[in-house]
């Protein structure tokens, strides 16, 4: 059955939808655009074409074979009789025909020999069949033999003496078989078309049912219900896979939305505090300041509060800028070592001033594809934190090394650290651990470090330093 795939491919390539149902086009016009219908029609056409191919090959291999067998029998017979005529002349031929006519085993044989004038010499036909005009041509005609009409395959020859010889075979049986088979095939074809259409409808409804899950969910989400998820059927098929991908996407969107909500709440809260303070100072000064000095100092302190607000805004914008990923276009191949050594030198002075020991180990080189300025700020933020929370006399360990294609920058202090449950939230914007409430800061430092890490496809890990905090910034190293 090698013939079947060929039309299947052909049908799949030619877009049958439009040509298939011309009478339906008006009604089905919007339907044709539906993928379900197109799927179903393609399926029906492929199915029909393969059924047709099957029927055709069946027909050809049975009816065709019988036909060819009869034809070759007649041709052989004609050759044998012609031989009789060549060797023994007309009497030998008549003899041969006579013996064939009387042979009971071959009752299908039809013979008729006419002399040049058209008179009957021998044969089982009463007269020359009507419509048989040309010699050496196949005819399939009804003839009357011994008073019985039947369909015969006939071929006429003109002998060298002018006699005309007709040889044929009764093919009624074959004709009957052909009719039976034609009817059967027509029925089968009809049934196949019916099944094909049924299959098409089935596919369409299956398709629609699967799409319905996705479309109802996404529509609900578009209307604002972000909690909806696409149900999975659990059989792990392509639609399950699609559902999973869409669900992952929704998960991410809702996490981002939560982030936005949380950040806007935090902004509202965290900015309100210093703004309120500044406002109170100015109002108080306007109402109660008696000397110019009072006024001056109130204004100066209010300005400091406002500077704090601006600082928070700048940090927020910076984080947003980093998270948007636009800085990636400015990535360059850099070695972090000199930059880290500069930072070490910058902060070492402060550490010594405060009686802290800064224990630094920076490997060389530390190749990175990234944004030097951002990594610089991230590391500076971590050092700022470490310095802020360290008590005099303790040690801060600052190390940077490259291991298994990862650059690991670690800053560990012996300060109060961050409790286990707070550690996951420490990189959220405005998050401040209970122990850090009394210390100055915006609660944005670690959020920025985490954003920088993410921009570089790296991570920020916070661990306990027993006691203290160990912040590990991991960035993928640049490959040579």
């Amino acid at each position: 059955m090698e013939t079947i795939p060929a039309p299947a491919v052909e049908a799949a390539e030619s877009r049958p939808g439009r040509a298939e149902a011309p009478s339906e086009t008006r009604r089905a016009k919007p339907l044709i655009r539906s993928t379900g219908i197109r799927f179903a029609l393609t399926y029906a056409v492929v199915f029909g074409l393969s059924a047709f191919t099957l029927a055709f090959s069946l027909w050809y291999s049975t009816i065709g074979l019988l036909q060819r067998q009869v034809e070759s029998a007649i041709l052989n017979d004609a050759a044998a009789l012609n031989e009789h005529y060549q060797i023994g002349g007309l009497p030998s031929l008549i003899n041969a025909i006579h013996s064939r006519l009387t042979d009971a085993s071959d009752s299908d044989g039809i013979y008729l020999l006419l002399d040049p004038l058209g008179n009957h010499i021998i044969g089982n036909l009463d007269q020359w069949p009507r419509g048989l005009n040309q010699i050496n041509t196949w005819y399939e005609l009804p003839v009357t033999r011994k008073g019985v009409r039947s369909i015969s395959l006939l071929r006429a020859y003109t002998l060298s003496g002018g006699e005309q010889l007709l040889i044929g075979r009764d093919v009624s049986a074959r004709t009957q078989l052909r009719n039976v088979m034609r009817d059967a095939l027509l029925w089968a074809l009809g049934l196949m078309i019916f099944l094909g259409l049924l299959g098409a409808l089935l596919i369409r409804s299956m398709f629609r049912r699967m799409m319905r899950d996705i479309s109802t969910t996404t529509r609900a989400i578009a209307l604002g219900d972000l909690t909806r998820r696409i149900p999975k059927h659990g059989d792990g098929d392509e639609f399950d896979e699609l559902a999973e991908i869409i669900n992952d996407m929704l998960e991410r969107i809702s996490r981002l939305m939560d982030g936005v909500r949380q950040v806007s709440n935090a902004i509202a809260h965290d900015l309100r505090t210093p703004i309120t303070r500044a406002r109170a100072r100015l109002e108080d000064a306007a109402l109660h300041a008696h000397t110019e000095e009072d006024l001056q100092s109130a204004i100066e302190r209010a300005m400091l509060d406002l500077d704090g607000v601006v600082g928070v805004f700048e940090a927020l914008l910076r984080i947003a800028e980093i998270e948007a990923g636009s800085r990636r276009s400015a990535f360059a191949a850099i070695d972090l070592t000199p930059m880290l050594e500069d930072i070490d030198e910058l902060y070492r002075a402060v550490a010594e001033e405060r009686g802290l020991i800064l224990d630094t180990r920076i490997d060389s080189p530390l190749p990175l594809l990234g944004d030097r300025e951002l990594v610089q700020q991230a590391v500076a933020n971590l050092l700022d934190n470490a310095l802020k929370f360290s008590a005099s006399g303790t040690t801060i360990r600052f190390s940077a090394r490259v291991e298994e294609a990862l650059i690991e920058i670690s800053i560990a202090d012996s300060g109060p650290g961050i409790s286990e449950e707070d550690r996951n939230r420490a990189t959220e914007r405005f998050f401040r651990a209970e122990s850090a409430r009394s210390t100055a800061g915006s609660g944005l430092g670690l959020a920025l470090v985490a954003a920088v890490a993410q921009l570089h496809n790296g991570t920020l890990r916070l661990a306990s330093n027993n006691p203290g905090l160990r912040a590990i910034l991991t960035l993928p190293a640049r490959r040579k």
């Binding site: 100066e300 406002l306 500077d307 601006v310 600082g311 700048e314 914008l317 910076r318 800028e321 636009s326 800085r327 400015a330 500069d342 030198e345 910058l346 902060y347 002075a349 402060v350 001033e353 300025e373 610089q376 700020q377 500076a380 933020n381 050092l383 700022d384 310095l387 802020k388 100055a440 800061g441 430092g445």
Partner: protein, 227 residues
């Protein structure tokens, strides 16, 4: 000094103009890009303070590009609310000499504008810098005050060089972070103060007359006379 301020916000412009005048500068003002370009191209200024977003069809970037295309090398300081890293890079690429983000402290603006004009003049091939009896040899990389040689770490040397190049001017902490450490953000720790105080230990401590002064609410200044 003669300074052109191109700024469309009336309050900001008024505040800047007043402050610059009080600092002893002559000031011209344009409140749109077209007038700003006309003034900048037709008259001589020592510095231009330029807003990025301006009415009148010509924004700050276009104005500056046009000006630079005419071989006008007047130092330009961008004063803009566009504060992203890309914005700053764009401004400097267009030919800006410095970039300050709004909101800003006037002391910072003044210090930066004065630094710009100074830079324009002293960018010659000087090999020696001196302030009072403090001398710096840029070739041998040595520093001496009076007869005494002062040993400085490489970074301290650069810090002092920056201060000496801007002697007599206020230098803000941000300017030092940018100019000496190439930092473009404010660390939360007072790193600059610590480094400046270390430098002060070396160049001022043993001597009678202090050279390195702290300017309240602004930054530092290196000068021989009393402030």
């Amino acid at each position: 000094m003669r300074i052109l301020v191109v700024e469309d916000d009336k309050d900001v412009a008024g505040f800047v103009l007043k402050g610059l005048r009080e600092a002893g500068h002559t000031v011209e003002h344009a409140d749109n890009g077209r007038d700003g370009l006309f003034l900048a191209a037709s008259e001589n200024f020592d510095a231009i303070i330029l807003d990025r977003m301006l009415p009148g069809g010509i924004d700050g970037l276009r104005l500056l590009e046009t000006l630079r295309a005419q071989d006008n090398a007047t130092p330009v300081l961008f004063l803009s609310a566009l504060g992203q890293v890309d914005d700053r890079v764009k401004g400097l690429k267009a030919g800006g000499d410095d970039y300050l983000t709004k909101p800003f402290a006037f002391a910072e603006l003044l210090a930066r504008v004065e630094a710009l004009t100074r830079r324009g003049k002293s960018d010659g091939p000087a090999t020696k810098l001196s302030v009072g009896d403090l001398e710096m040899d840029l070739l041998s990389r040595s520093v001496r005050r009076g007869a005494q040689k002062i040993d400085l770490q490489p970074r301290e040397f650069r810090l002092l060089e920056y201060l000496m190049r801007h002697a007599g001017q206020v230098v803000t902490r941000t300017m030092l972070l940018e100019g000496v450490w190439d930092y473009h953000f404010d660390p939360q720790t007072n790193v600059i103060d610590v480094h400046v105080s270390r430098l002060r230990q070396k160049i001022d401590k043993p001597f009678e007359l202090p050279l390195l002064h702290t300017v309240r609410n602004a930054g530092y200044m290196l000068r021989a006379e009393e402030v």
